[in-house]
Symmetry: C2
Subunit: 301 residues, 2 copies
């Protein structure tokens, strides 16, 4: 596999992921909207390129890590997009969380230009990006996945770099994870609301529930956040709102009803509208607890 890798999108997640590739010995050609992170990467040994097409011209593997579907569409298939400069046989790895449906469309555009596109969204947040312990679920051609695996393994836990299925399957799997998290979070929120209104110690309830069938990562981690009233993200409500919008679009396109997830989605919408978009999304529990007043102004610890 190429030792030159393109990396487009150097935000909270992208920058530490790109740095892990440099540490692993790859030479990076980078592009980002903001000048600051590009300069940092150049100082670390990377080369800057002025457009996504220029990145593609210099590399056999281009990684994108961008906020939303429209950003990836512009970077991949826009006027100065990756497809314009793509080398024959090159791999495009989109590690953003975006629409599985748009992903299938973009994969076709990349294939028409003679390359392969993999969708490889990540879980594990900023902490996992820095520590290279991300979970990476991948959709697309299996042979292309095997070529990309050593690169992905530098950014994630090698045991948790998994091929899920064809193009779009990585994105769909990521959304399935957000659905499962939403359900668990709703359960914890409603349980805490009942405990609180009944005058029972929520910490004691959490402890009892962690030992039984009701145990979950969400009860453990978000349960602790709710008990402490500490909503320093983690993962912000605004980004979770974006993921739940993708869930709704994708579920609807597949004729699937997600009534429990939509309860959470609506309360996250209300949380963001009320001014809580910057808080960890576990703060949605306050929407059930009717303790939202004042919490948005809380100084983050």
């Amino acid at each position: 596999m190429a030792t030159n890798i393109g990396f487009i999108g150097l935000g909270i997640m992208g920058k530490p992921m790109a740095l892990n590739l440099i540490r692993a010995g790859y030479h990076l050609v980078v592009h980002s909207r903001s000048r600051g992170p590009v300069d940092e990467m150049v100082a670390a040994g990377a080369t800057a390129a002025s457009t996504p097409a220029d990145v593609a011209r210099q590399t056999d593997c281009v990684i994108t890590m961008l906020p939303d579907t429209a950003d990836v569409e512009l970077v991949v298939s826009g006027a100065h997009g990756i497809v314009v400069g793509l080398k024959a046989g090159a791999i495009v790895i989109d590690m953003s969380t975006i629409s599985p449906i748009a992903t299938e469309r973009l994969a076709k555009a990349v294939a028409s230009a003679g390359g392969h596109m993999l969708d490889a969204p990540v879980s594990g947040g900023e902490v996992g990006a820095k520590a290279a312990t991300l979970t990476i679920v991948v959709g697309g051609n299996h042979a292309a996945f095997e070529r990309a695996r050593p690169i992905l393994a530098c950014m994630g836990n090698p045991d948790r770099v998994m091929h899920i299925g064809p193009s779009g399957a990585g994105q769909t799997c990521k959304l399935c994870g957000q659905i499962a998290v939403s359900g668990a979070l709703a359960g914890v929120s409603e349980a805490f609301a009942l405990a609180e209104k009944s005058g029972i110690d929520k910490a004691r309830v959490r402890e009892a529930l962690l030992g039984g069938f009701s145990a979950s990562k969400v009860l453990e981690v978000h349960g602790e956040r709710v008990l402490a009233g500490n909503y320093r993200p983690g993962f912000s409500a605004r980004l979770f709102q974006k993921d739940l919008r993708l869930v709704h679009e994708t579920a609807t396109a597949n004729a699937v009803a997600t009534p429990a997830t939509s309860v959470v989605s609506h309360l996250v919408d209300a949380l963001v509208a009320a001014g809580g978009g910057h808080l960890d999304y576990a703060a949605v529990a306050t929407m059930w607890l009717e303790k939202a007043d004042g919490v948005f102004e809380t100084e983050l610890r």
Copy 2:
């Protein structure tokens, strides 16, 4: 503490729990609606009593393990109920899952008769009852709990015999657990529905999700049931329906809305109405997957 213990209700859960007390060296005075289990217990060394009042006359501690609120009300405060024969200072331990509100009422009746009532519902099912590994969450007077603890520890995991709060708090905590399980189960069901309709391997999705923030006991255990289509209970949909009815009553009485749990509750109602009440409640996932047809006639393995 007394070495004579009363035990009323020798069903699927009650009988193995009572046998564990005999194994621990207690002498039991038993009563049950069905003759069969009473004969079995007498063969194991217990004494039979003809009414709950007669049980109470011979013991300082009476345990009840009954299907629903009305059963416990009849056995505790009916014409031939425990209260009629209660010794001064005796403890009544209700290990059924019933209404926290009715529990508070019954605890007052027991207190008026000179005794103490503890609510001590269990989790862990038939397997936990046989293996004496139940989780037992307790509400009521703390001193009475300490007197009862050695007895409870013969039926459950001693580390998971927990005092939660005042009378009713054990029942409320048990319901909080069922709420948390409902949310997690909704999340898993909706995630699997999206995976299935998208044509992605659900087993692969489950594996990916178990490694991340979406991990839960429900994804692990019920996820496996759904993948295998094996709904041998476990815990039946009919009993889960009863618990979710208690959740709704109790939440409403405390002015708490549980919209996500009510999604699950309505689908469990539909599952039972369609003929699936005898299946493990994980079968509710089929209501999202639209694969319910035919599954109710499945031979249990």
